[in-house]
Symmetry: C2
Subunit: 226 residues, 2 copies
C-alpha cells in the first residue's frame, strides 16, 4: 500500500479569521505569535493539522483553545500555499473564517493568550500572508451575507433592527437605506418582535427582535439578495 512513499510530506496548518461585532464595527481576534519566526508579531490564530483530524476539526480545536467555545460557525476560505509564505519552513495553510457573538467568548482565556480584538478598519501589521487571508475572508463573508441573513452568528440572541442594519453596513462597508433595509428584512418572515425595547441606542427605544424558533443556517440560505 505504499505507493505514496516516494512523495514529499508537508506541514499543513489551519489559520482562523475570527469575526465578531461590537460598537458598530466588525472586529477580528488576533494574537501575538508565541514562537519564532516573527515571535511577538500579530497573527491569526492557527495550528498544525494532526494526522487523525480533518481540517475543520483542527480549526474547531484552535477556536476552542483560544475562546473556550465549541461548534462555532465556520467556513473554509481556501488554501494558501506560496512556498515562501512562511520563512520558518514550507507550510501549507488552509484559511477558515469563524463568526461568534463577542460576549460568548471566555474572556479570561482570551486575555491570557494576549489576544486582542481589532476593528477590521484598523488592523496592525500582520505576519506572513495573514492580511491576504483576511482579505479573502471578508470577501467570503460578504458573499455569504448577500445570500443568507447572518446575524444569529454575530449578534446576541435578541437584537434591534438598527443593530442588524449597522452590522450589514459594517460587513459591506457601505450604508444601506435604513427604511428599505428594515422592510426587506421583515418581509423575510424569519424574525419575531419581542415585547422588550432597547433604550441604550436612542431615547425612544427600539424593539428587540430574535430569529423565529427552529431556524437553522440552512433555512436562511438563499433567502435574500444584497
Amino acid at each position: 500500500m505504499d505507493n505514496y512513499i516516494k512523495h514529499n510530506k508537508q506541514y499543513v496548518a489551519v489559520d482562523c479569521v475570527i469575526f465578531s461585532y461590537e460598537d458598530q464595527e466588525l472586529k477580528l481576534l488576533l494574537y501575538p505569535r508565541g514562537f519564532e519566526p516573527s515571535i511577538g508579531s500579530w497573527s491569526l490564530m492557527g495550528g498544525f493539522v494532526k494526522e487523525d483530524e480533518s481540517l475543520e476539526n483542527a480549526a474547531q480545536q484552535v477556536l476552542f483553545n483560544t475562546t473556550g467555545l465549541k461548534n462555532i460557525y465556520l467556513e473554509q476560505i481556501g488554501g494558501f500555499s506560496n512556498p515562501d509564505r512562511d520563512p520558518g519552513g514550507r507550510v501549507i495553510s488552509i484559511g477558515f473564517y469563524a463568526l461568534m457573538p463577542i460576549e460568548d467568548q471566555n474572556k479570561e482565556l482570551v486575555r491570557n493568550s494576549g489576544a486582542h480584538w481589532w476593528p477590521i478598519q484598523k488592523l496592525p501589521h500582520l505576519i506572513f500572508d495573514h492580511k491576504e487571508i483576511i482579505d479573502a475572508a471578508l470577501i467570503k463573508l460578504q458573499q455569504k451575507s448577500s445570500i443568507s441573513l447572518i446575524g444569529k452568528e454575530l449578534l446576541p440572541e435578541a437584537f434591534t433592527l438598527t443593530q442588524l442594519h449597522n452590522l450589514y453596513n459594517a460587513i459591506f462597508q457601505k450604508k444601506f437605506d435604513a427604511g428599505n433595509f428594515r422592510k426587506k428584512i421583515l418581509s423575510l418572515n424569519v424574525l419575531k418582535k419581542l415585547p422588550k425595547k432597547d433604550t441604550s441606542g436612542s431615547k425612544r427605544g427600539a424593539f428587540y427582535y430574535t430569529f423565529i424558533d427552529n431556524i437553522e443556517h440552512n433555512n436562511l440560505d438563499r433567502i435574500i439578495k444584497f
Copy 2:
C-alpha cells in the same frame, strides 16, 4: 528556526475536476487510476504537491500533463481532509475545477492516458470522495456562472447565442427562456456579432458571436445575475 519539527507532516495532493462542453452537455475528464489502492477505477486527475510549488502550480502541472495545455482557467474548490478518505494513507486533497474548450486539448495525450470525457449526468462510480469533490465543483461553477458570464473558458472563440444558452442550461440543469436569455446577454454589451453564420444547428443559421476585445475574466465578474 525549527519550532515546527515536533508536528506531523502530511501528504498533500490536488485533484482536478476538468469541465468541458460538447454536444449540449457538460463533460468531465476522468481517468483510470494507475496504482493501488483502487487501481483501474475511475478517478479525477490528481497529483501530489511538491515542496517548492503552490497548490495552483501543482494543479496546472496536473492539467499540463494530462491535456498538454498551460494556463488553464482554474478555481479552488476547497480542502477535502477526512482522515479516512484515502484507504492508501492520510492524504489531504485540495480540489480545483478547471474549464477548457474541449477541442483545445491534446487528444493523443488524453487518449494515451486512458482518460475519457464523461457527461456529468452519467458519471461512472468514482474512487474515494471524488464524487463529493465533483458535487462541490458543480456548485462552485454554478455560483461563478451566476455572477459572471462564462463561455470564453468553455466555448470556442466564436459561438452562437444558442450554444451559450445551451451551456447555461447544462450548467444549471434547467431550461432558461430562450428569448429572455438572449436579451439579457446582449444587454451586457460584452459580445460582438460576427458576419458569419453557423448553419450546423438550424436551416436558417445563427450568427456567431465572440467576446469583445480586451476583455478579461475580471471584467466579466459581477456583471450578471442568474
